[in-house]
């Protein structure tokens, strides 16, 4: 699985309340959620998110279990998130909704805003501006099986033969 896109950079400890505030959690509609993604820090974020890859620092997605955080980012058109580390629940929510998430210690220093990134999800190889290659942690195990199925719902349907 190869994912490509232009980089939007964010910092450390991006939390779920900033990704999608609690007042929007009475809906699970991806289109609605996409319009409010990152609202407290950048209400226009969704306008520039289409086709982007987010590069972030430590414990991206820390905080609440709200699955809408992953749904909103994906629905806004973000193709993948590469971060130094992820909060455990957000990481699973992203995978469960078919949003690729790559753990990559040191990535913030390597990549500038607007760079072009190509990610090989299975091998963990990340290519920056078609030249420099760095190795990140590949998605493996259960997470890869769920991601390949297109999310947890599809994975469950396959298991049950629905």
């Amino acid at each position: 699985m190869i994912v490509e896109g232009r980089v939007i950079k964010l910092g450390d400890k991006i939390d779920t309340d900033v990704i999608i505030p609690a007042k929007h959690l009475k809906s699970t509609d991806p289109e609605y959620l996409a319009q409010h993604v990152f609202e407290p820090i950048d209400p226009e974020f969704y306008k520039k998110a289409k086709g982007a890859i987010i590069i972030a620092g430590k414990v991206f997605g820390m905080g609440s279990s709200r699955e809408q955080a992953a749904i909103a980012i994906k629905a806004a058109g973000v193709r993948a998130i590469v971060a130094e580390s992820f909060a455990r629940i957000f990481y699973r929510n992203a995978i469960n909704n078919g949003l690729p998430v790559i753990i990559c210690p040191g990535i913030s220093k390597e990549v500038n805003e607007g760079a072009w990134l190509k990610i090989d999800i299975e091998s963990g190889e990340v290519t920056i501006n078609n030249t420099k290659k760095i190795m990140c942690k590949p998605v493996t195990g259960m997470a890869l099986k769920i991601l390949e199925a297109g999310g947890l719902l599809e994975y469950l349907k396959n298991l049950r033969g629905v």
Binding site: D12, K13, D15, D17, V18, P21, A22, K23, L25, K26, T28, P40, I41, K58, V59, M62, G63, S64, S65, R66, E67, Q68, A70, S85, A87, R88, I89, R92, N93, N96, N97, G141, M142, G151, L152, L153, L156, K157, R160, V162
Partner: protein, 417 residues
């Protein structure tokens, strides 16, 4: 053997030996959700199975309404209505409607036992670690999968040992200990680890304090936080449920990635300053900060000992900052009423209700305005968490919050003569 509590619990749940880093599929003892995540869980269940949802084990499923309590708008009422109807259709036995309690408090009071695996659709599920359970929050889809199959997958975390020695000074509580851990380690250190807390003398660290520290395990980004079950655990379960629980312990030579000792006598009054839980400062460093609004309650600090401290500090005084106080459950509220704490808070001028998460999530029942300064006993001070993104939230223990309510400033309770 040299197994930690984390490994012992997970080995029982998977039925074979495990080591940190292993990806395993485990049996879940208790699965739970509340109203704000519950409707999402049910949506996923219905997408996966049509109208033919077969719950794996009715007795292991716990539901409690808390986030939209009481419903502040029609959509919230509708969400609760749909879950109520799901509960009726599936004849749920452990369903707690509006007016019972915050899910994590309900799990402690009625359901969780030492050594269990607890998974709920809310990040503060770590609270159940107070009883020595392996407890994690998960998203709605993962929880739906557990409701259907009784199982989930986890990566076995690397266990880290924290020792608590000595005893706390007056009105210093579990909250200050949680903030001390965040001051030393910051919010990203424990990612991929489980924290196992050993209390040298069980009596120095009562269950309420354990619940606060375990609750904030998620703010430390720990995979889980557990107190090693001891005499205090036995007493708590005996008092709440009338029987003695079986204990589970790590091996005496258990291996930990590292360990850290907290001398309780040295822990001081601390706050998390805006806008990050690990921006921990001594109260001395923010001394005199003017406060508009105080919130005492939540799944972090909404228990009897919290209201005991608040009532002792507020007795005979009037609030200068507006004050909202919310015991975590009907049980806590009732006990606080019997002990006179509710009356004291009401006489001081606090609005008091119970069993809602409203203010903590910026949902309802007390939203912060732009540029207001809030002192909250809850667990998060992210930008916009309690309302306006321009509000400044200080997280504190019950003594600092109650003192802020009656003085209108962040100072230590010793200031009150």
């Amino acid at each position: 053997m040299n197994k930690s509590l984390t490994e012992k619990i997970l080995e029982r749940a998977v039925g074979k030996a495990v080591s940190p880093g292993d990806v395993i599929e485990i049996d879940v003892d208790i699965v739970a959700f509340h109203d704000l995540t519950g409707y999402h869980v049910i949506e996923v269940l219905e997408k996966a199975t049509g109208s033919n949802t077969k719950i794996h084990n009715i007795d292991s499923l716990v539901v409690a309404f808390d986030h939209l309590v009481p419903p502040p708008d029609v959509r919230s009422a509708e969400i609760q209505q749909s879950i109520r109807s799901f509960a009726r259709r599936n004849a749920l036995r452990n369903f707690h409607d509006v007016g019972y309690g915050i899910l994590h408090q309900v799990l402690l009071e009625r359901y969780v036992l030492p050594g269990q695996v607890v998974m709920a659709a809310d990040s503060h599920t770590t609270t159940s670690g107070a009883l020595g359970a392996f407890a994690q929050g998960l998203g709605a889809s993962d929880i739906a999968a557990i409701v259907l199959t009784g199982k989930t997958w986890v990566i076995v975390p690397h266990p880290f040992k924290i020792k608590l020695v000595g005893s706390l000074r007056k009105w210093i509580t579990g909250k200050e200990v949680a903030l001390e851990i965040l001051r030393v380690f910051k919010a990203d250190y424990f990612n991929g680890m489980s924290i196992e807390v050993f209390t040298e003398d069980p009596k120095t660290f009562p269950m309420d304090f354990r619940a606060t520290v375990a609750n904030m395990g998620i703010e430390m980004n720990a995979d889980a936080l557990m107190f090693i079950p001891d005499a205090e655990t036995i007493d708590y379960v005996k008092n709440e449920r009338g029987f003695e629980p079986k204990l589970i312990a790590p091996d005496s030579n258990a291996r930990y990635v590292d360990e850290y000792t907290i001398e309780l006598d040295k822990v001081e009054f601390l706050v998390s300053a805006p806008h990050s839980v690990d921006n921990v400062k001594s109260v001395r460093d923010v001394w005199g900060t003017e406060v508009d609004y105080v919130f005492i309650g939540s799944c972090t600090n909404g228990r009897v000992s919290d209201f005991e401290i608040a009532a002792k500090i507020m007795k005979g005084k009037k609030v200068k900052a507006r004050c909202i106080a919310i015991p975590a459950s009907w049980n806590v509220f009732k006990r606080c009423m019997e002990l006179g704490y509710i009356q004291t808070l009401v006489e001081a001028g606090c609005i008091v209700t119970y069993g809602t998460c409203g203010p903590c999530i910026g949902g309802h029942f007390g939203i912060a305005a732009p540029n207001e300064t809030v002192v909250s006993t809850s667990n998060r001070n992210f930008i916009g968490r309690m309302g306006s993104p321009q509000a400044k939230i200080y997280l504190a223990g019950p003594a600092i919050a109650a003192t802020a309510a009656v003085t209108g400033r962040i100072v230590e309770p010793g200031e009150l003569a």
